[in-house]
Point group: C2
Chain length 315, copies 2
């Protein structure tokens, strides 16, 4: 195979009480990468589309070309590769944009090279990409984008990825307010030390959330979707957050929270029609504040990144 196209999905990271360790993949939006082997002996970024010119074009700075370069070094080859990145999701939105690009690039080059690595083995390379992109290593976006589903990343290096069972009728309403929230600022707002009693409440919550997901207990999922660590600080960066939370919970959402470090917020529902009408209500509440927003409705994507080979018309 000399060329391949890959789609990697957007993700909801920092899943409420699962700060840094829980995330899930969406069906859409996401990023697409088209990649071709060539004889140049180097990695070139031939096209970046859909980013309004905001992403770096230098192969060593753009996350896709950077992770592909690392992959090739890791497997020990100087194979030449040409990359085209089709950015099909907002970035700086809290939807794991850099993760989707990195994962699409890694899955594509792995496919072209005959799958020398498993998806799990690609994870540390994707985490390195996140470090390059955001300045800190985290895995709660790359792991679900790579593996699909709701993924727990745990252990010292957060690279022990565990796909959790979940009720299959979960559906997600997302609203992305078109405001700028710096990932770095959203990270720095969280103190280095937290109160033990808050930590205990948080790990009681994540334990409840995981138990609820594993046993399809939606009431337990709902009452465990409480973040006493990051959300109280980060919600202040999102205008109308508390109002949107109230709207979501009053209109049948199982739970509500910030996606990643925001500003996108999401409501977890178990009914697509309800998710759709809820997204409309949330968008309207932002309209009333003069804030333009985009909405997405998505099931939880249990497959993760997919190779679109033989469907070149899709890119």
């Amino acid at each position: 195979m000399q060329s391949v196209s890959v789609f990697a999905p957007a993700t909801v990271g920092n899943l409420v009480c699962g700060f840094d360790v829980l995330g899930f993949a969406l069906e859409h939006p996401g990023d697409k990468v088209r990649m071709e082997l060539n004889d140049s002996g180097r990695v070139s970024l031939d096209l970046v589309e859909g980013d309004k010119g905001r992403l770096p074009r230098e192969p060593e700075k753009n996350i896709v070309s950077a992770v592909v370069n690392n992959f090739l070094k890791y497997i020990g080859t100087n194979q030449g590769v040409g990359i085209r990145l089709y950015k099909q999701m907002p970035f700086g939105s809290g939807l794991g944009s850099s993760a989707a690009s990195a994962v699409a690039g890694l899955v594509a080059i792995n496919e072209l090279m005959g799958q020398p690595l498993s998806r799990e083995e690609l994870l540390p390379l994707a985490i390195d990409g996140e470090r390059l992109s955001s300045g800190s290593a985290h895995a709660d976006n790359v792991a679900p984008s790579l593996l699909g589903g709701i993924v727990l990343v745990r252990g010292k290096n957060l690279n022990d990825a565990v796909k959790l069972p979940f009720p299959r009728d979960l559906v997600c309403a997302l609203v992305y307010p078109h405001i700028e929230v710096s990932t770095r600022l959203a990270r720095e707002i969280i103190p280095e030390n937290i109160m033990l009693k808050d930590a205990i409440r948080q790990w009681g919550n994540i334990a409840g959330l995981v138990a609820g997901l594993c046993t399809s207990d939606k009431a337990l999922i709902g009452r465990s979707m409480e973040d006493v660590v990051a959300e109280p600080l980060r919600s202040g960066l999102i205008p109308g957050f508390n109002c949107m939370r109230e709207i979501a919970l009053e209109n049948g959402a199982i739970g509500f929270g910030i996606s990643g470090s925001g500003p996108t917020v999401f409501a977890l529902c178990d009914d697509k029609a309800r998710a759709r009408s809820l997204a409309g209500l949330l968008r309207q509440s932002l309209d009333e504040r003069g804030i333009v927003s985009s909405t997405f409705i998505s099931d939880i994507n249990n497959e993760g990144a997919v190779v679109l080979s033989g469907k070149p018309h899709m890119v």
Copy 2:
């Protein structure tokens, strides 16, 4: 019914990474309470046996009579009750001794009064008993003693008790070194603030532990049984702790940890013969340090406290 006997089991609280929120019930040891209604209009503690005279005899200070008194106030009666407490487990051992006594008392009086409260409704009264006994409200011993199984206690007041699924072949080897560790000291050694990165690792671990329990993934249970918050501090109060951990993990234990605030330690196994031989090895390692110890081998008790009515010979 005018008299009743109740057995309430010992428990392993602070289940490794589940500090304050996870515990499980043992088949044995445990406490027994025999209780009779009478016309005295007051709660009397007629007998305390098996405590070598160390527990308070004043009805307002002994935890059993205190929780029974609170129960009667709560349901609004001045019914007279005579209580006999048969202490059949060590206390100050980290096995939830006060919890077992409180639960036995509450289940007995609830039974005698015609079960006005459910087991779940008894939980807050049992937590109040723990506050009386240890100076702080915690629920990770009373909840499993009351409800059986492996129980998650979560939420603001730690009284949302969730029984978790677990692999039914789990068996526990416990070793109680006969040394004194004050619950209060073991509590005070834990700081009020912890590092966020430790908290993240801890909630990644509890999430993995719960997922492993729910999906019967023993490898995941094992690698998630890591406590980076309490154990590094409390293990210093238990002579030979690190040596015992090594022995346990080298001899096929799934995981190893401190029971409650110690000094009892436990190894989780999936084979009774292995648990038995492991308990012997752990005991021997303490012997070599000149420390006398008791061992217990127990399945996880999924029933919790039981009414022994009609079996008065058992007390």
